[in-house]
């Protein structure tokens, strides 16, 4: 069993939900990333989504766009992100790491090379925002599977039921439900609407479902953990990082403090 499946199984036994924080790799500088990942795990993160910086993150709001820009100022490449995961794995062999980003940097590396190097670095899965199942079927899906990597797909409020089945079949590891129509960091979510949609999704899959976009605080994390298998939180952490560009030593402690707060609320 891979790390993602093991993680959700353990949580299920405990009756808890996964807390899945997102940070952009290399933001605000490459040295900050691995210590922040470790600190977040200590504070109760179950899975880490690590963003691959991209110059044109068009599904993201200004928060993540700026995080990408800060990271790219240091020239962070996809291969550097894989190095960070490798370093993280020196101390942590248990916590799943999922790469999240856009297709173009992956295309440049080549799908096969990406999958092989990611697996070797200790990555567990990837969510490529602008690669829906229709475009992934074929080479991308094959090389991910061949290297034991999960392919995480998005589901959205706009995803029609006829498509839900297709996406559920294509996905592995978990599904990422985008709770609001919008970009990352946008409006607050409607928990009842999320619950209704997840009921539909669960007719087609046994995969765990993480919910992201619009989770801003302990209250919304708690509410979402009542209806989902995982709570994905990004912009609120990235905003904290943005506020600490001048005090980078503080980043692991202050970001993980937010993670701890969300964890406490979810487990209460």
């Amino acid at each position: 069993m891979n790390r993602i499946a093991a993680c959700f199984e353990r949580l299920k036994e405990q009756g808890r939900q996964a807390l899945i924080p997102y940070i952009t790799a290399g933001d605000p500088a490459p040295a900050a990333t691995v210590p922040t990942m470790h600190a977040m795990v200590e504070a109760g993160a179950d899975i880490i989504e690590l963003g691959i910086p991209f110059s044109d993150p068009m599904a993201d709001g200004p928060t993540i766009q700026l995080a990408c820009e800060r990271s790219l100022m240091h020239g962070t490449r996809l291969l550097d992100v894989l190095e960070m995961v490798k370093t993280f794995r020196e101390k942590d062999q248990e916590t799943p790491v999922v790469l999240m980003g856009y297709l173009n940097p992956v295309e440049v590396l080549g799908y096969k090379s990406f999958a092989e190097q990611a697996a070797a670095a200790g990555v567990d899965g990837a969510l490529i925002v602008d690669l829906p199942p229709e475009e992934a079927e074929g080479e991308f899906d094959q090389v991910m599977k061949a290297n034991g990597l999960d392919t995480i797909y998005l589901l959205a409020p706009t995803t029609e039921e006829s498509r839900v089945e297709k996406v559920c079949k294509a996905g592995s590891g978990y599904l990422y439900y985008v709770s609001v129509k919008g970009v990352t960091g946008s409006a607050a979510l409607d928990v009842q609407a999320v619950a209704d949609k997840l009921d539909v999704v669960r007719r087609y899959t046994d995969l765990p479902i993480g919910v992201g976009f619009g989770i801003k605080d302990a209250e919304s994390a708690k509410a979402v953990s009542g209806v989902a298998d995982g709570v994905i939180v990004g912009s609120v952490l990235v905003n904290k990082i943005a506020s600490l560009v001048a005090q980078q030593d503080e980043i692991p402690a202050q970001v993980s403090a937010i993670v701890a707060e969300l964890r406490t609320a979810m487990d209460a």
Binding site: F54, Q65, L103, P105, V108, D130, A156, T158, T159, G182
Partner: protein
């Protein structure tokens, strides 16, 4: 270069998934998939609907002023001393460029699908103006995203859009040009997908946009083909058009794809010179990648980050290109070259002085290359240049180059 694929196969692209060979496709986040699916179904139905076609044709005739003339530029021809140069006068369209052909079509789609709000991205402002124009006419709310740098260099068009009732949103992110405007427009669309129609200005983006924009713009090539046959008694030898995203070029080229003897040349923005790296010529100097919903030639660094572009022309200042052009390049049906800023500016001045026609700086790139080609060709040969827009909007830029405060 020999053509590697059967011409009718080339003409029938894209396939049902929006792929032009390896290019095109639908590389967007999940939230937009349903909207694109719906747009595709609506478009395929309406494009075959005689009532829709009739309304589109009527608008092109009586609102846009089509057909646009094919003008035999005898003075420019004489100056070059070679092939006969004909100008397809898209600059004479209502709003001053070819862009309106597409916005008329997409606004009709918005109307038929009952969306009360339209958004658009714009570089030079021509597509923004064309979108604001059709929105004003149909009573649609219109917001236009424009890079902050372009807002400055195309102040006239910004004000035109405001007068037309559109709101212009200045985009400060990234390189503050067309690609960033497109990012913001995509973000808006993701957020407001229920009530908003996104009028994409060029034959790029996720399927079905490259196809439908091409279809709306193909009126250019259909007219030019008939006009050339009528005026010269035969088809042209060469078609020349500027390529940013490439909608005017694909509009001219597409109806000629199966005419094997007609060469097609797309002219990209060479900026300070392709060798300088400061240009906007992905087909000439880039490589395939994925951006803004499609796979196509891009300007990117070796890690896959999109590069900033440079062109004196805001309308060509884009790091990608429509996927059909990438395909036409690879199969050898069209050729792509780059013209530098100063060559384009020379052509702008030349055409203005010898024909009394002031071209957009975008179109001046095509004129510049056509002049080069004409000199090497025989007098009984014919070049049709797509004069995609008029130069009034560029007076400020030209004056600035001349060191004059207008």
């Amino acid at each position: 270069m020999p053509i590697k694929t059967d011409l009718s196969t080339i003409a029938q692209m894209p396939d049902e998934r929006g792929h032009f060979g390896p290019y095109g496709g639908r590389f967007v986040s999940e939230t937009l998939m349903a909207a694109l699916q719906q747009l595709e179904e609506t478009y395929e139905r309406l494009w075959r609907d005689p009532d829709f076609q009739a309304e589109f044709d009527r608008d092109l005739a009586h609102y846009v002023g089509r057909p646009s003339p094919l003008y035999h530029a005898v003075h420019l021809t004489e100056l070059c001393g070679g092939a006969q140069i004909y100008l397809k006068r898209e600059d004479l369209n209502h709003t001053g460029a070819h862009k309106v052909n597409n916005t008329i079509g997409q606004a009709l789609l918005a109307k038929y699908t009952g969306k009360p709000r339209v958004i658009a991205e714009t570089g030079a402002g021509q597509h923004g103006v064309a979108s604001a124009t059709v929105a004003a006419r149909l009573g649609l709310k219109c917001q236009v995203y424009m890079g902050a740098e372009d807002v400055q260099r195309q102040a006239l068009n910004v004000y035109r859009m405001k007068l037309l009732g559109a709101e212009v949103i200045s985009v400060e992110s990234g390189t503050r040009t067309l690609k960033d405007a497109m990012n913001e427009a995509m973000r808006d669309w993701v957020t407001n997908v229920d009530d908003t129609f996104y009028i994409i200005g060029t034959a790029a983006g996720p399927h079905p946009y490259p196809k439908l924009v091409r279809d709306f713009q193909s009126v250019i090539g259909r007219e030019a083909r008939a006009q050339c046959l009528e005026q010269a008694g035969r088809l042209p030898d060469v078609l020349v058009a500027c390529v940013g995203g490439g909608s005017n070029a694909i509009g001219l080229f597409h109806p000629f794809i199966e005419d094997a003897d007609v060469r097609m040349v797309g002219v990209e923005a060479g900026g300070f010179g392709v060798e300088s790296g400061q240009h906007a010529a992905p087909l000439t100097a880039g490589r395939p990648g994925v951006l803004h919903g499609n796979r196509t030639y891009l300007m990117e660094d070796d890690a896959g980050q999109i590069l900033g572009t440079h062109s004196v022309s805001a309308g060509l200042d884009y790091p990608g290109v429509g996927p059909e052009h990438s395909y036409l390049k690879d199969v050898g049906r069209a050729e792509y070259v780059a013209i530098n800023d100063d060559e384009a500016m020379d052509a702008f001045r030349t055409l203005t002085r010898v024909e009394g026609i002031m071209p957009a700086i975008e179109s001046s790139h095509a004129v510049a290359h056509a002049m080069k080609m004409a000199k090497e060709m025989d007098k009984d040969q014919i070049i049709v240049v797509n004069l995609s827009g008029r130069g009034d909007k560029d007076i400020h830029t030209v004056a600035q180059i001349d060191g004059i405060q207008v």
